[in-house]
Assembly symmetry: C2
Homo-oligomer: 466 residues x 2
Amino acid sequence: MRAERGLLARDVVAVSAGPDLFADALVTQGARVTRVDWHPPAMERELAALWRDDVDAANREALARLLAAHQVLIDVRPAIEVIPGMARDLILHAGPPIEWTRMSGPLRGAVVGALLYEGLASTPDEAARLAAAGGVRFEPCHHHAAVGPMAGVTTASMPVFVVENRARGNRAYSTLNEGLGKVLRYGAFAPEVIERLRWFRDILGPALGEAIRRTGGVDVRALIAQALQMGDECHNRNRAASALLIKALAPHLASLDLPPPERARILAFAAGNDHLFLNVGMAACKAAADAAHGLPRSSLVTTMARNGTQFGIRVSGLGDRWFTAEAETPVGLYFAGFGAADANPDIGDSAITETAGIGGFAMGAAPAIVEFVGGTPADALRYTRLMYEITLGENTAYRLPPLDFRGTPTGIDVRLVMQTGILPQINTGIAHREAGIGQIGAGLVKPPRACFESALRALVAERRGG
Amino acid sequence: MRAERGLLARDVVAVSAGPDLFADALVTQGARVTRVDWHPPAMERELAALWRDDVDAANREALARLLAAHQVLIDVRPAIEVIPGMARDLILHAGPPIEWTRMSGPLRGAVVGALLYEGLASTPDEAARLAAAGGVRFEPCHHHAAVGPMAGVTTASMPVFVVENRARGNRAYSTLNEGLGKVLRYGAFAPEVIERLRWFRDILGPALGEAIRRTGGVDVRALIAQALQMGDECHNRNRAASALLIKALAPHLASLDLPPPERARILAFAAGNDHLFLNVGMAACKAAADAAHGLPRSSLVTTMARNGTQFGIRVSGLGDRWFTAEAETPVGLYFAGFGAADANPDIGDSAITETAGIGGFAMGAAPAIVEFVGGTPADALRYTRLMYEITLGENTAYRLPPLDFRGTPTGIDVRLVMQTGILPQINTGIAHREAGIGQIGAGLVKPPRACFESALRALVAERRGG
C-alpha cells in the first residue's frame, strides 16, 4: 500500500488507445494523456492465417535479397537494344496496366509526345487517333524490368540507364530525366519537348553511355548511401545524388571527342537538373525489388506504382498480379497559380523508391524537403520512424545520421500494413490533370488501403489453393 | 495557500546553478534537478565597463556588415598578381605572427616545401638554413586579406582563389586545396608534393581561373547556404559544397582548349578531393570578417587563427593587434596507427569559418561529421545551440533544417564569451607534430580563454585611452 501511494504521488501519465471517450475523460480530470493511434486490426481472420513460419521464412529470404542488392550503373543504351521485350510499336507507361480510354490527361499527353518523337504520328490529333485505334500497344514499364517517373512513357529509341544488380545479375532500366518545366513525363508534347528528346537520343544518351562505360561502372548503392547523408531522400530531393553523379562522370564527359560547345551543353544540362539522378535511383530500386520478387508465400511488397488513374501494388509471393484501386490525390504545396483543383491523381513508378526503403521512408534524412512537400522537419523524422512499424528490416547500406545512423525502414509487409493500419508514406511530384501543362507542386500521398486488403485476401487464397 | 498546495502537488523540477552541493542535496530527496553549467563571470568589473550603448551600437554595425557579405568567386590568379603586398621573398603563413625558431614541425615543413617549390632553395637543408638566416620574410596570411588551412603557407607563384564581397567591394584570397595524404599544408615537402604544386601553377590554376571567369562568378554565399542543407558544415565536411562547385565549373572546364587527358585530369582531381571547396569557403568567410573589422568600440571577434604554436584572435574595435596564447591540442579521432602523442597543437586559419558562423557553429546541420571528429549527432546539435549564447545574431543566409531553419549562430562577442564562460567550438583537422607526415586525425578544439581575457582588458583600456 505504501508503494502504491508512492507511485501515485509521482507524476502519472496515461496512455489511451482506441475511442477518444476515455482520453477525454482523463483530460478533464487534469491528467496528462498520450493518445495512441491504434485500432483493432481489420481482417483479423485473414491475418491469423498468415502469421506463419513459412511466410516468415519466405519474407526473410525476400528481405535478404532486397537488402543484398548491389546496384551499379553500367551503361546508357537505346531502349530497343536492352529492355527485354521492347518493340517499335510498344509504349511502356508507369503504374498498373491501363487502356487509352481510362488514361489520365498527363499520361495521354506523354503518349502523344512519344508518338510524335518516334515519328509514328505527325500531329497530336493523329497521335491520339492512332493510340485510340489500337495502332500501338501499351504495357507497364514494370513488366519489362523498367520504371519511369510520372507518366513513365518509354519508347524504342529513347536512351535508358542500365543498372545491374551485381548480387543477382538482374538488370533494370529507366529513361533519362528531362528536368523541370515542359517535359514529357508530365504530359507535355510541345516542339521543345520533342527536340530535347531527340538531343537525348542523338547526343546526350550516347555521351553518357560512353562516359559511364569508361568509369567501369558507377556504384549506385554507395552513391545513394552518401546522398542520404547529404540531405536527399532520393525521391523528391536528388540534389546531392545528382551532384555526386556529375562528379563521377565529369572527368569522362570532359574528354569525349565532341565539339567543345556540345561537351559544355551536356554538363550544363546535367548541372541544371537537380533530378538528374532520380531515374538512376529508381532503376536501382527496381533492380533490388525485382530480385526480391517471386518467392512463394512471401508477403513482401515488391511494387507500388500509379498510372494516374489507379494505384497498384505487387507482392513477392503473388506473381505478376496487380492489386489496384483508384489513385488518391497528393496533399502538398502548389506552385504559384495552381491549387488542389488542378491536380491529377497520384502518378508514376517513382514509389519504387519507398518500396526499396528510401524516398518517403528516408525523409528523416532530408529535413529541407519539407520546404517542397510541406510540413516541418519534425514531421519528416516522424514519417521515417512510423515506417519501421510496417517494414521487415532496416537497410544495411542506407543509414540516417539524424537517427544515430539507424538503417532506413525497408521491406513493406502486407501483413504489417493491415495489422497496424499504417499505410506506406510516399512523397511525390504533383502533375496538372490536363495534358501538356506539367508539374504544379509536390506533396505527400498514401496508397489506397484497398490494394493491401485485396493482396492480403489473395495471400490467404493462395495458401488454400496450394 | 490553496494555490501553493496545488503548485507543489504537481511535478516539481529544480534548476541548480553553481556549486554541485545544492543539486546533490535535492537529488538525495528524490527531486528532479537540471544542472546548469554556469559560474559567476570572471572579470566582472571589466565586463561592467563594456555593457554600454556605444559598444552595442558598434557591434550592431559590425554584425550587419558580417551578415550582409555577399561573396562571389571571381577568379584564380597567381598570388603575386592579386594579394596586396605579396612579394617574391615573402612567405605567408596561418595564424598570428611567428618567427622561424618558434614554428612547429608542420609549419616548418611547409616553409621548406614552399622554398623548394619556388626554386629559392634546392634541398630541404638549404631551405631550412635560408629560413633560419632571415633570407625570407614571414607574415600572417591574415595581414594580406588571405587565409590558408593548416600551415597556410602561401608564396608568390601559387595560384589563389579570388573571392569578392559584393556588399562592400573587398576581396579575400586562399590557395587551392591539395586533397589529403602528403600535402604542403600538413608540412609535407616530398617531390610529389612539389610536383603537384607545379601542376597547380601551370595547369590547374589557369584552367580554374578561365572556367570561373566564364561563369561570370560563382555565388559562394548561395553555395554555402545549399551545402548547409546537404550535411556540410563547411569546415571539416565540404563534400556537398565541393560537388556543387564542380557542378558549377564542369561545363566550362569541359570546353577548355586543353588536351582531353588534361581536362579529364583536372576534373578527376576535383572529384577526388572532398575538401576542394574548403579554401573557397575560407576566403568567403575572410571577406565577410574583414568587412566587419575596424569599427571603433566593437567587441566582435573578426579573426581566430592558429600558427601551430599559438592561437590568436583579433577584434573589430582593436585594429591589427593579436591576442594570443599557447594553442591547445584538439581532442578527436585518429587515423589508424596514430594517437594523441603524435598530434601537433591546433594549427590553421580555418577557424575563420567559425568566426563567420559556419564550421563548428553549424555542426547541427552536419550530423554525419561525428564519424570524423567524434561524438554523436546529438552532440553536434548541442554545440550549435550553445554557440547562440556567445554570438550577436543569427545568420540570414545560412539556415539549419534540423533547427527548423534557424540561422546559424554568427558574430562572436568577446563580452558574451567572458560573461558566459562559453568558448567558441571549433572543429579541425589534426596534423602530425613532425614535418612531412601529414594529417593524422580530426577533432574538436577551443581557443584558450586567455585570448578573450586579454582582448577584454584591451577593450577597457581602449575606452580609457579614448
